[in-house]
Symmetry: C2
Subunit: 347 residues, 2 copies
Amino acid sequence: MRSSVIAVILAIYISSTGAFINPRISQFHNLKQSEARRTFATAAAEADTAQDFDLKEYLIRKGAAVEDALDKSLVVSCPQVKEVTESMRYSLMAGGKRIRPIMAIAACEMFGGSQDVAMPTAVAVEMIHTMSLVHDDLPAMDDDDLRRGVPTNHVVYGEDIAILAGDALLSTAFEHCARETKDVPAERVVEVLRRLGKSVGAVGLAGGQVMDLRCEGKDGVTIDDLKWIHTHKTAALLQVSVAAGAILGGATPEEVELVERYALDVGLAFQVADDILDITASTEDLGKTAGKDEDTDKTTYPKLIGLEASKVEAERLVADAVLSLSSFGDKAKPLLAIADYIIQRKN
Amino acid sequence: MRSSVIAVILAIYISSTGAFINPRISQFHNLKQSEARRTFATAAAEADTAQDFDLKEYLIRKGAAVEDALDKSLVVSCPQVKEVTESMRYSLMAGGKRIRPIMAIAACEMFGGSQDVAMPTAVAVEMIHTMSLVHDDLPAMDDDDLRRGVPTNHVVYGEDIAILAGDALLSTAFEHCARETKDVPAERVVEVLRRLGKSVGAVGLAGGQVMDLRCEGKDGVTIDDLKWIHTHKTAALLQVSVAAGAILGGATPEEVELVERYALDVGLAFQVADDILDITASTEDLGKTAGKDEDTDKTTYPKLIGLEASKVEAERLVADAVLSLSSFGDKAKPLLAIADYIIQRKN
């Protein structure tokens, strides 16, 4: 009994420090306060520089390349697979900002790797993301009939096919990455596949979604619970996207750790910003019903710490994300601009 | 219009020859009939030798090692993942013959590889197999409440958790294989992961299950349809099990092709034997309701070609499987004995 209490306390401690995500403590945690401020001032100046960067043009250009690769990744190879492949394509090609694949490419290029080297991994993370949407929309989960204004996969193809199309998208992500990644040592590909696998498992998407389902409508959900859910349901896939890109680009373990820290902060900031937008934005701007969180009594950052403190928290997270990339200079511009965009966006 | 007709005819031709599974034509297809008979006689003699092999002891010994590795593969790393991990473990540790992992180990050892090298892949194929059972049992699929005499995953944990536990098992299979496979060149691990990914996709488990669902209760299901379904729903995972084991053990591409051919024949024979047992075995022997196929008007081998012809077909498939391994001598004994067991079994 005593040991289980200690285990829970230890787990809460680990969770609050973020150490279970990344057991090695960031170099910044070891800096003295004054040094940290100086490093941050440098990073902030670089973020200003990053604002000159034309993110819109970058997202359009990289997005088009991703769209093309996704389109080529799923083809009907024989008549028997027509239906399942069409169902997979229906959701994979349904649009979206393709932010995860673009982040994978940006991270790879930041370390001198090419877009071509990162593209199969970029396709894989989008397949995984799509699988999670198809399964989350199922009647037994969030029971959503519409996504981005079109009927969800199970509405079009039936629940059975939607479950199988999700399974096939998930497994094809690994096949595609293993088959198509060229011109890098095989050790890097194995490491990327290991991380992709982990990002969907118990300490990834699936675990995050289970905790989210269990906290729904429950009293006493803490800020640590909320952080855990967002870290695993949202940030884990951003984390593996940039980490995989960095690994393929030739980053050292320490460099991979820095981009992971960036992605975890960006992922959390994204969710805090989402919570804020639900309160402050109009339904028109959001493209979905505003104020839905309050109506459904969902635990959110503003509910737990207030609206103003949530805004401060989102800004702090983005500042931390920026800080993590401070040593990479101009090459970090795309990822810095994406971090900035996360809290500036209107929907 | 004409080109699509040609495409369909080509697909049926390819499907009937099995060439779409394995585009390279087996060496045995090029042998003259007399030579084939002589090769077969040698193989049959070897199968007799294989009957001296103590399969029961082998399955118990290897099964225990697999059980141990499975048990260690899923641990609760923090309180937040307790429920999803328990759900994954509930189905993964629910017993079964562990025939796929044992085949992976047998194939690896046949080429001089060790059990340790094959074990992470053995665990991965069992995780994939378990995921397919958990998702197949869902209300939107086969809607089964019981499996091996105990409640199915969704009955215990709910549909939402069962879907997510399946997703987590599937992705963890890749993580585990990538993380735990040691002492072989990384290129082999990438190739194994590629094949594992493919085996669940559109031309694997998921595609086979979609075709099966679509053929249910439908008139005009042909022997080629049935063969396609069994090849992808059942044989594909046996195929990747032995192929992955062989690759890790250092087999050449030609040798991998031979063990794949063995596995496809064994997988198909397994299904034909299942269809036969449903008619000839008692409910007591089967451990499930006998005569269920006829009651549910399911298309089976006996229904399409008759009971006697089905028995001949099962024996022919096993003979072909044995033939594929004829060049490996005594080292093939475990896989030969497993092929034999497939049609001798009573349940």
